[in-house]
């Protein structure tokens, strides 16, 4: 049964590109986060990959800057229903960071400064699908958008692109992160509209 809303016509915007279901275009860059914005100084910043056996691989900011960086232009989709087209980023591919890591894990938990976490299948971080991004639109990434560095996993809803990222924990079994424990979807594919657990 359809419920029609009297007098509502909508303001369909012309878009050369199809958006995922239930999304609308924005020119702004809204923010979704649960607490205060952490401020992390670059001289203490670290990125750590921890395997299921507890082995760690670490990079300082200087070491991260020494790795090959890529420019990424991509659409992003937030679970709060905005989408933004052709956003421009610069960052280091997770393929580069995970290249020498030995693991049998199928899942990953991204951890952030400030305590935030989000879970993803490891394969969604590989094959050119994910980056540790430190520039947005040619500028260094602002703290409220996750600077100095955030995860960028644009094929999933944007909460998976953890702000203020400080590491990846590799896991044999999936386990829910911060928003996922609060009812958001474990995978979060915008094209299948996986907003909430059970979608």
């Amino acid at each position: 049964m359809n419920i029609f809303t009297r007098g509502f016509t909508g303001r369909r915007r012309d878009s050369s590109r199809e958006l995922p279901p239930g999304q609308y275009l924005t020119e702004d860059f809204p923010v979704l986060s649960a607490g205060p914005t952490p401020r992390i100084s670059l001289d203490v910043w670290q990125f750590t990959v921890t395997t299921e056996l507890g082995q760690t691989h670490q990079w300082s900011w200087e070491q991260l800057m020494g790795l090959p960086a890529e420019s990424i232009t991509t659409d992003i989709h937030c679970v709060t229903r905005w989408s933004k087209l052709e956003t421009a980023w610069r960052g280091v591919s997770l393929d580069t960071l995970l290249a020498d890591v030995e693991t049998e894990a199928d899942y990953a938990m991204a951890h952030s400064y400030g305590g935030y976490s989000t879970n993803l299948p490891l394969e969604d971080l590989l094959d050119g699908k994910a980056w540790v991004a430190f520039e947005y639109d040619g500028e260094e990434l602002a703290p409220e958008h996750g600077g100095p560095a955030r995860l960028l996993v644009p094929h999933l809803y944007f909460w998976k692109s953890a702000k203020w990222v400080r590491g990846i924990e590799l896991m044999l079994q999936d386990s829910p992160g911060f928003w996922e424990q609060l009812g958001y979807h474990d995978y979060g594919d915008p094209w299948r509209e996986q907003r909430y657990q059970g979608d």
Partner: protein, 253 residues
């Protein structure tokens, strides 16, 4: 972090349900409260929001999230909607919707920016503009149920932008456990001793809680406002893990 205990099963909460508009009440020149009847509403916590979906006669749909403004009253729920320029859903709800109109809602959504009446620690609420809506739900939920002391600091541009002004004044006068302070950023009323200006550390020293009281802080408003307030609270010694935020609206990257 505890797992959320949110009312209603998952299947119930993600099902779109018919909603009928019972009443539309103007709060300010640009904001309205909508009272909706949703049969079988599973209940919600103060601070949670719902998704509202409108469907045009040709099947086109648009959905947005809005904070619930009050505890549930059997099958009636309330949202307060701030009209935003060019807002596809908000401008319909604020300007065009009439009692008897139908749309759909689902929820409740959100298990982090919530206050539960069984929590007894002091609460600091800091609102910018229409960010007051989920905080008002907390104030209304507390009424007669909880002894937790509440302080609300509410920043608005001008007196005419105050949502729930009369009710907030009345509640603060009747209830020794609730303090309400308005901050005016552009134009203050004539009898207001504090000159108009952005929220500052002084406002928190005069009207907030000291960090020693260990209040839970809820901050809701436009992104820049929330950033400023959260930084001031941390600067004043509040534990970042006790500061819960909800941001809305545009922000330059």
């Amino acid at each position: 972090m505890a797992r959320a205990a949110v009312s209603g099963g998952l299947k119930l909460r993600r099902t779109w349900r018919p909603a009928v508009l019972l009443e539309r009440r103007r709060e300010t020149p640009s904001a309205c409260t909508l009272v909706l009847e949703v049969l079988g509403w599973p209940g919600h916590l103060a601070g949670q929001h719902i998704d509202v979906r409108l469907t045009a006669s040709d099947g086109y749909q648009a959905a947005r999230s809005y904070s619930l403004a009050a505890p549930t009253n059997s099958d009636q729920i309330q949202i307060t909607v701030q009209g935003v320029p060019d807002g596809e859903v908000s401008s319909y709800l604020v300007a065009d919707a009439r009692p008897g109109d139908s749309f759909e809602v689902r929820g409740p959504v959100g298990g982090w920016f919530v206050w539960r009446p069984e929590e007894s620690s002091p609460v600091l609420l800091v609102a910018g503009g229409s960010g007051v809506v989920p905080l008002m739900a907390m104030i209304r939920s507390r009424d007669g149920i909880s002894g937790a002391p509440f302080r609300l600091i509410y920043s608005v541009r001008t007196p005419e932008d105050r949502i729930y002004h009369d009710e907030l004044r009345r509640r603060a006068a009747e209830d020794g456990g609730l303090d309400v302070t308005f901050i005016y950023t552009r134009t203050a009323p004539k009898d207001e001793p504090r000159p108009a200006g952005r929220i500052s550390l002084d406002d928190f020293i005069s009207h907030g809680w000291s960090a020693e009281a260990e209040p839970t802080c809820y901050v809701c408003g436009p992104t820049a406002f929330v950033e400023t307030v959260a930084d001031l609270l941390i600067f004043s010694g509040h534990d970042p893990s006790k500061i819960r935020t909800e941001r809305f609206g545009p922000s330059g990257p």
